[in-house]
Subunit: 350 residues, 2 copies
DNA sequence: AGCCCTTACGCAATCGTTTGCATAGCCTGA
DNA sequence: TCAGGCTATGCAAACGATTGCGTAAGGGCT
């Protein structure tokens, strides 16, 4: 911070009191002043290159016009669009955002939360929350505006913006079944995250609803949403010796990991095994054979979350749960199982 | 911001003056106090859940322990790793960062810069700078620590951390030439950005140094580093009717755009045209045929830049220019030109 | 003309920390 | 014993903006 021109300087230049300057510069309080004074002060201010010191302002008003945004890891492709959505809305409302990454590490998260609070954030938008998050719940209980995004604290009264995991998983399962798959293996996400949990639940209810059974032995739980875990889990599915013609993965990165494991085993997707993902990461359509997946609207979710946050900051009530719609993206990674294809081919020879 | 426990509260509880509490809580000034008092105050502070109000602190000390990080667009894949590198270093030093995205829009950049300054950032790390950036130069001249990353203000005394564009381009050209290409087209980046400019310069000097000539007509300048521009420029290369067997692209996204245009024209990479990129975006190896490119170390560059920024914040001098090394990543998008391959095949029949 | 109300602005306290200076007490040394 | 010095702490003024309250001037009304 360097020496800057303050209200006092402008007051001296304009021959008025600093409080008058303060009022002249705020459109709403300026109405109590005479037009000439306001005009004079404003022109003096711009002439002198005045820039409001928000720190002093924050101290006095007890609000920093700042929110903290907590992410697991911005390097994860699904977050940048979300961040842009958040930033856009907040910036237009005069808010700035501190972005931090927890790497899903509890200790790190606590440190970062603390840093955010020291800096007087007016609210926290949390996209990296664990299902069980007492610290955050405590903050919310104290009256700090808190909203979770993509995930939720479970159970709690913290408002959240999440995606329609049920619909998404149901689409994928239906799509696989309609393609003729009846032996569907699954790689699910970490159950400590609400997304992992909810998608897994959705899978079970969907299968049950369709009268299918997914044997426990063809279901592996990943320890994280990464390619490595996807490969590991895929390998484990094969090692168990169960037969399956498709793998439903809890997100795209797990699916990519599975894809590379398939290739490593000399198998082809979709010829030997169909694969589905979740999230629709950017550039996914560039990767052959094109992963069939569920698109979640990250940027839109970010915008919605930021708008809800603004409402909370204004003291308004917001819905406990906002569910964003998802859509299915069909690409090349799902085809009918080989058996069916061959059957079809023999019936309709070329 | 909610009611919080202040130094005054602790002072009252401990029966001392608030200045004493302030001193007790700062490890360095605490040495002037008696050990018992310090211990007593500290325990009272933690017992009462004291959290330092950095806003008040900033106002008094005139430094916010905050830096502004200006990006073109966090959705661009090369930035998230950089952001993580920056965040890691700054956070360890007790700094927090405001991240903003300019979308390469001058008006937006000015608004954002202004917002950062109002919030009293101690320094600015700028990765979205145009070659000509008077506003930023002015800030730097006023004594605000400013450092540019990935790009530079040209000319100016603003320190920068950039990549070794010369080496990178030279590697790509050499690789193409060694593969047998002599008719190399180029899609260069926007010349308003130092990266676009420097890579273009590097291309010309490299070609000249090798005794090759790149005719102006097989060189197209993109208006932005995007897939769309890559496609457009690739199309323009064909429309001009010049013959070429390889396209050197100023970054990966341009190369991807070119790739899709090739496919749209029924051509194959690398069978018909070889392609090179720049940056080595994540997941690029998943995209067939695998783009041969230049890897730049984003995370490392972010770390280095943040450390230089910390030095500047401490009043130290830093080098005017820090050049990060780059490495070549060979994948499948470059092969000898068809003519050579056929020649080879006829000589060594399988 | 006198009263009151409004208008337009000044006054001063306040937000929570930091820090230069003042001071009270104690110790040391002559 | 007393000057002088040191130690440990208190005092109060900042930092810059905001805002409740006070008040002078002016105008309208009777």
């Amino acid at each position: 911070m360097r020496k800057q021109v303050t209200l006092k300087d402008i007051a001296a230049a304009a021959g008025v009191h600093v409080s008058t300057v303060s009022r002249a510069l705020d459109p709403v309080t300026a109405t109590t002043l005479s037009d000439e004074v306001v005009a004079q002060i404003r022109s003096a201010a711009t002439a002198m290159g005045y820039r409001r010191n928000r720190i002093a302002s924050s101290l006095r008003t007890q609000q920093s016009k700042t929110v903290g945004v907590v992410l697991p890891d911005i390097s994860n492709w699904i977050f940048p669009p979300m961040v842009r959505g958040i930033e856009k809305v907040l910036e237009e409302a005069g808010y700035a955002a501190f972005f931090v990454n927890t790497d899903n590490l509890v200790a790190r998260e606590e440190r970062l939360l603390s840093a955010l609070l020291e800096r007087g954030v007016d609210g926290i938008l949390h996209a990296a929350v664990l299902r069980d998050s007492p610290a955050l719940a405590a903050l919310a209980a104290e009256g700090l505006p808190v909203l979770t995004l993509n995930r939720r604290v479970d159970p709690s009264r913290i408002p959240c913006v999440i995606n329609d995991e049920n619909a998404g998983i149901q689409m994928m399962v239906t799509h696989l079944v309609e393609a003729g798959h009846s032996q569907i293996a699954a790689i699910s996400g970490p159950q400590a995250l609400s997304t992992g949990m909810m998608r897994q639940q959705a899978l079970l209810t969907t299968l049950a609803g369709m009268g299918l059974r997914q044997p426990a032995c063809s279901h592996v739980e990943a320890n994280g949403f990464s390619e490595e875990e996807g490969s590991r889990c895929c390998a484990e599915l094969f090692d168990r010796g169960n037969h399956f013609t498709a793998i439903l993965c809890a997100n795209d990165r797990l699916a990519l990991g599975a894809l590379s494991e398939l290739r490593a085993r000399g198998l082809s997707c979709p010829d030997d095994v169909s694969l589905t993902g979740y999230n629709d990461m950017p550039y996914l359509d560039w990767i052959a054979p094109g992963l069939t997946t569920v698109r979640i609207e990250q940027a839109e979710a970010g915008r919605v979350a930021a708008e809800l946050m603004l409402q909370m900051l204004n003291g308004a009530e917001v819905p406990q749960e906002t569910v964003m719609p998802v859509t299915m993206i069909r690409r090349g990674s799902v085809t009918p199982p080989r058996r069916l294809r061959e059957l079809q081919a023999s019936r309709n020879p070329v």
